[in-house]
């Protein structure tokens, strides 16, 4: 692990105009690390770069640009560093724990040619190759690229950027990052008409980067330790901003699931404050970037082609952490076979982990007549060591980039790392319950491991190898055993495996700043709210929190169309996201018709974020009981709840009843548009110190509607293997969903049921 307080800036290159940063190892004083720079990859003395123009008039695409980039430490920079720091005896390799690569470029031209941002996931091994493929829309844009790469002088204006994460210890300073959601909402409201701020899923991080600072919604405070130089303080400040941006981007992304109908995800984010004390293990990340080169007259003809018809161009790439324990490759190689009518031979190639020259492959099939984007591929994984190979079925696809991740080969690695856990003083140890849904009918089991130290010394890894594709989802629960004998439980929602590494930071279980925000959505000036009076109690029975209460009295949100925020309630707690909740009572007077509706025991799950009142809806909560489940036979129960929405994105009052359909149907965007995003619940098999507590789901009822409608599905993952689905469960009189001990076998997985309750019956 490198010591960031030893950072040195090294000037190199002609006139010393270029610079790199180097760091010393914490323990091996003669080993140094160099921040690498991106460059175009060269293979067999040829740049891995190709620009193709399609001469026939395809309506969508006029050409394609493909290239590979990689990270490297320039040799002259190393020599310059060795001259300046004589104690350097060897160079260490960073162990990357995450990474992203970006290519975005704006060119002049008619109407301003714009190449949309392209994000790529680099491999975490070797030279961290990232393969880009950019569809070029018009012949003018192709010409622009040609000029960019061939005009004599310097480098091309095209630039790539890498953001790679590496673990280190924050030795130099304490950093605090703060996010204020209501400021962000206000900013977004002001600028909503000007730009697509934070709503664009793919570029959410870029959007957050661009707007966080200017909105004033983010702030960073760094307190340097004794003897820390301005330069180090600067580095920590810079890192803290990057960290805040990543966290806000994650919060906005997570809030998508909570945003109902037309709500913006930003409006469903909550404030947060995080303090990174000195000595904390952190993921250090700084962006590095470089321009792509220009090519000389001898090289260019080998890189640029013109063909009559649009070709099928697909990049296949390996991504993810492909090493098992002891840095052994998890498999030997993957053979990919592609089927496309215009290319009948040479359709098979190999991808090899750890081999930079074979980590990705761009497959090109000639065009012919009308372009058909549909192709098929299958892959065969050779695991080696006597394990039988796995051959996938033929997979139909139209994507131009196919990324093969370890889960596609039935392999998963998740590492847990203690960041700030007070081991030795308050915490005895942390038990980590790790669970993933096994494929097919293989038996399932919960893996439990112990963590007793922070950092790499105490890191705990879970690996599994099913050797058949698995879903990229897993669950975990942290049980902090305190010296006092009590247990603090933290179970976040389902985790989606990251693109290239799964690292979970285990944090201090001490209570920290939590909050509850109340927002009102005013849909029209004549509607809105006349009075909102609420009394909130916070409960976290799992972690034995004392009851905390707060009162909002006579809040009268401005009757301006948009989202209004009441004052936020802050309190100290360490909530278990799975079971902590607020209990709300009081009354709301709606502006239209001065309708008064009482709020009586509304249970708002803590993980749901702010209380979001709409002037056209009443909020109710469904209580989900899991205490009857037969945990001898069952390992995990997953549950999804959602509601139907109309074309305007409002909760539907009179939607066509639909029941008994498969949850998978929501993968179709047209079907999904008719429902709110399902809220997922994962109920793990109980363990020591874990109580059996109900969960809550917040329902919305249009004020004009006489009935409450919601949808749910529940799957039981069985210990012996396989899964069964919850049957239709009657919900009458009370908004309660009682999960049965064990549903009868034969129920299809993922079947959705509809519940309709007349308001009058409640």
């Amino acid at each position: 692990m490198f010591d960031l307080t030893t950072a040195r800036e090294i000037a190199y290159g002609p006139g010393g105009e270029l610079s790199v940063r180097v760091f010393r190892d914490r323990t091996e004083k003669n080993i140094w690390y160099m921040e690498p720079a991106p460059r175009l990859r060269i293979q067999n003395s040829q740049p891995v770069f190709s620009l193709t123009r399609y001469l026939s008039n395809d309506s969508e695409v006029a050409g394609v640009l493909t290239f590979d980039v990689e990270l490297h430490a320039p040799q002259d920079a190393k020599l310059a560093a060795e001259r300046e720091i004589p104690e350097i005896e060897a160079w260490g390799d960073f162990t990357w724990v995450s990474g992203d690569a970006f290519f975005d470029q704006t060119f002049p031209g008619p109407g301003g040619v714009m190449v949309p941002l392209v994000t790529q996931t680099p491999s975490l091994f070797g030279s961290n190759v990232a393969s880009f493929q950019v569809a070029v829309a018009t012949p003018e844009e192709v010409a622009t690229f040609v000029a960019a790469f061939t005009t004599p002088g310097g480098v091309s204006p095209c630039r790539v950027e890498y953001q790679m994460g590496v673990l280190t210890q924050l030795l130099a300073a304490e950093a605090r990052v703060v996010y204020k959601a209501d400021v962000a909402i206000d900013y977004e409201r002001t600028y909503a008409t000007k730009k697509d701020t934070w709503g664009n899923r793919k570029s959410v991080l870029v959007g957050v980067k661009q707007t966080l600072k200017e909105s004033g919604a983010g702030d960073v405070r760094v307190t340097p330790g004794a003897g820390v130089s301005d330069e180090i303080k600067q580095m920590v400040t810079d890192w803290a901003w990057t960290t805040l941006e990543n966290q806000v981007a994650a919060a906005v992304d997570a809030a998508r699931a909570l945003a109902q109908g037309n709500q913006s995800p930003v409006s469903v984010t909550s404030d947060f404050t995080r303090t990174y004390s000195e000595d904390a293990i952190v993921e250090w990340s700084t962006p590095v970037s470089a321009n792509l080169p220009r090519f000389d007259d001898a090289t260019w003809p080998r890189l640029y082609r013109e063909v009559d018809n649009r070709e099928l161009v697909v990049t296949f790439a390996l991504a993810g952490d492909l090493y098992g324990p002891d840095d052994v490759d998890l498999f030997e190689y993957v053979t990919v076979e592609v089927r496309y009518p215009t290319r009948t031979t040479d359709n098979t190639f190999q991808l090899i982990p750890g081999d930079d020259d074979a980590v990705s492959k761009t497959y090109v099939a000639p065009g012919g007549g009308t372009f058909d984007p549909n192709y098929e591929y299958r892959y065969t994984v050779q695991f080696g060591g006597g394990t039988p190979a796995y051959e996938s079925a033929w997979i139909s696809e139209t994507a131009t980039l196919v990324v093969l991740r370890p889960s596609d080969f039935g392999i998963r690695n998740v590492t847990f790392l203690g960041q700030n856990v007070p081991f030795g003083t308050t915490v005895e140890k942390v038990l980590i319950d790790f669970f993933e849904v096994p494929p097919g009918d293989l038996p399932s089991k919960m893996q439990v491991k112990e963590m007793t130290a922070n950092g790499e010394a105490g890191q705990v890894s879970f690996s599994s190898a099913y050797h058949v594709p698995i879903t990229n989802i897993y669950n975990y629960r942290l049980r902090y055993l305190l010296k006092t004998g009590t247990t603090v439980v933290y179970q976040p929602g389902q985790q989606f495996g990251s693109a290239n590494a799964d690292l979970v930071m285990v944090l201090d279980p001490a209570p920290s700043l939590a909050n509850m925000a109340v927002r009102g959505l005013v849909s029209a000036k004549k509607k809105g709210f006349l009075d909102v009076s609420l009394h909130a109690s916070y409960y976290d029975v799992q972690n034995s929190a004392h009851e905390l209460t707060h009162r909002w009295t006579g809040w009268n949100p401005p009757r301006k169309v948009g989202i209004q925020s009441a004052e936020t309630w802050y309190f100290d707690a360490q909530p278990d996201p799975e079971t902590a909740y607020f209990d709300l009572s009081g009354q709301i007077v709606y502006g239209e018709g001065m309708l008064l509706l009482p709020v009586n025991g509304l249970k708002l799950p803590y993980k749901n974020g702010p209380l979001f009142l709409s002037d056209t809806e009443e909020l109710l909560s469904v209580e989900i009981f899991s205490d009857a489940i037969d945990w001898e036979a069952v390992t995990l129960v997953t549950l999804n709840l959602f509601q139907a929405v109309d074309e305007a994105g409002e909760i539907a009052a009179g939607e066509a009843p639909k029941t008994g359909f498969a949850l998978a149907e929501l993968d179709d965007p047209e079907v999904a548009a008719g429902f709110t995003q399902p809220i997922a619940y994962s109920v793990l098999k109980p363990a020591d110190g874990v109580k059996r507590l109900p969960s809550f789901y917040t329902l919305r009822r249009p004020i004009s509607s006489e009935k409450i409608v919601f949808y749910y599905n529940g799957d039981y993952v069985l210990a012996t293997g396989g899964a069964v689905a919850v049957d239709e469960t009657a919900v009458t009189g009370k908004l309660q969903l009682h999960l049965p001990p064990l549903p009868p076998a034969g129920g299809g997985r993922g079947i959705v049921h509809r519940v309709e309750i007349p308001v009058a019956s409640l």
């Binding site: 960019a148 005009t151 200017e214 580095m235």
Partner: protein, 319 residues
């Protein structure tokens, strides 16, 4: 004059009073000049500033120079405003500069977004002016100046740049061309400086930005909307290059920008009193709007930081 800044209502009178309070003499002398070039200083419908202010002050450090840019006809059509601006600012320009103004006006043909502005500065008790002329979208500027070839061609170092304004200074006969550019990288800027015959001090600019913002420049220069200006001497050689972005994108709300400049100025020993007074928060704790932040690199390697600020907080006065 008894002026306690925070309580003073914002606007032109308040701003002039604040200036006068720091440097006796500057208020009355300059006030008359500003009222001549901006006959309606209390207008809130100018396109000069985002909040509608018709006057924008600019500070340039380390010298601590104070300048103003004025809208000679708030609310007027672009053609009419350009006429007014020319009447106020063209008188003492060189023959070469006047030819440039005529060409720019011909290109605009009375159209455009705003037409032009008038700059005014008080140097050693002497009032001088700078005429700003809009370069309209349709203007064929690419082949006109050496800067055109530098900043426009498909393979140029700075892709997608667009000339937007020219500034003609009566003091030294220079022509300053302003460009809107996409996010650019320090390396690109370095290449541009070197092509323009200016010292390619990449790290000087990024270090200055880091000093101002408290955040190191890693990757692109910060801010989505960026601008460049190149000052051309009468002999056609580049004399300085300035990089700009919106203060809001660098610092966030005006109060943060103000705090950042005051802190950086204090550390560097810049004269900050006038700026501090002019931009003090009003009774509602609102800080006057801040516009463009810039860093200039001169031919001799000198470095200067600039910031523009309006008369009132963003969105106008709360009063």
């Amino acid at each position: 004059m008894t002026t306690t800044c925070p309580g003073r209502p914002p606007g032109f009178d308040g701003s002039v009073a604040r200036l006068g309070a720091t440097e006796p003499g500057i208020g009355p002398a300059w006030e008359d000049e500003l009222r001549v070039v901006c006959p309606r200083p209390d207008s809130s419908s100018s396109r000069l500033c985002a909040n509608g202010d018709p006057i924008e002050f600019a500070f340039v450090w380390p010298a601590g120079e104070l300048r103003a840019t004025c809208d000679p006809a708030p609310g007027a059509a672009p053609g009419a405003r350009l006429e007014r601006a020319r009447a106020a600012g063209e008188g003492r320009l060189s023959v070469r500069q006047r030819a440039a103004v005529t060409r720019l006006a011909d290109w605009a043909g009375g159209a455009g977004r705003y037409g032009g502005w008038v700059g005014s500065r008080l140097t050693a008790g002497q009032v001088t002016r700078k005429l700003y002329v809009e370069i309209v979208d349709a203007a064929p500027w690419q082949d006109w100046w050496p800067t055109g070839r530098l900043l426009w061609s498909p393979g140029s170092a700075v892709p997608a740049s667009l000339a937007v304004m020219a500034g003609l200074d009566e003091v030294d006969g220079t022509l300053e061309v302003y460009f809107r550019v996409p996010r650019i990288h320090p390396d690109t800027l370095c290449e541009l400086l070197s092509r323009a015959g200016l010292p390619p001090h990449r790290r000087a600019l990024t270090a200055e930005l880091a000093r101002l913002t408290g955040q190191a420049v890693r990757g692109y220069l910060p801010g989505r909307d960026q601008g460049l200006s190149i000052v051309l001497a009468p002999d056609g050689h580049a004399r300085a290059l300035t990089w700009y972005t919106h203060a809001g994108m660098l610092f966030g709300p005006p109060a943060r920008a103000r705090a950042a400049y005051l802190a950086a100025g204090r550390r560097a020993g810049w004269p900050m009193e006038t700026y501090a007074r002019l931009t003090a928060a009003d009774a509602d704790q609102a800080t006057p709007d801040h516009g463009l932040a810039g860093v200039r690199i001169d031919r001799d390697g000198g470095l200067a930081s600039s910031i523009t600020c309006g008369l009132r907080p963003p969105g106008g006065s709360r009063r």
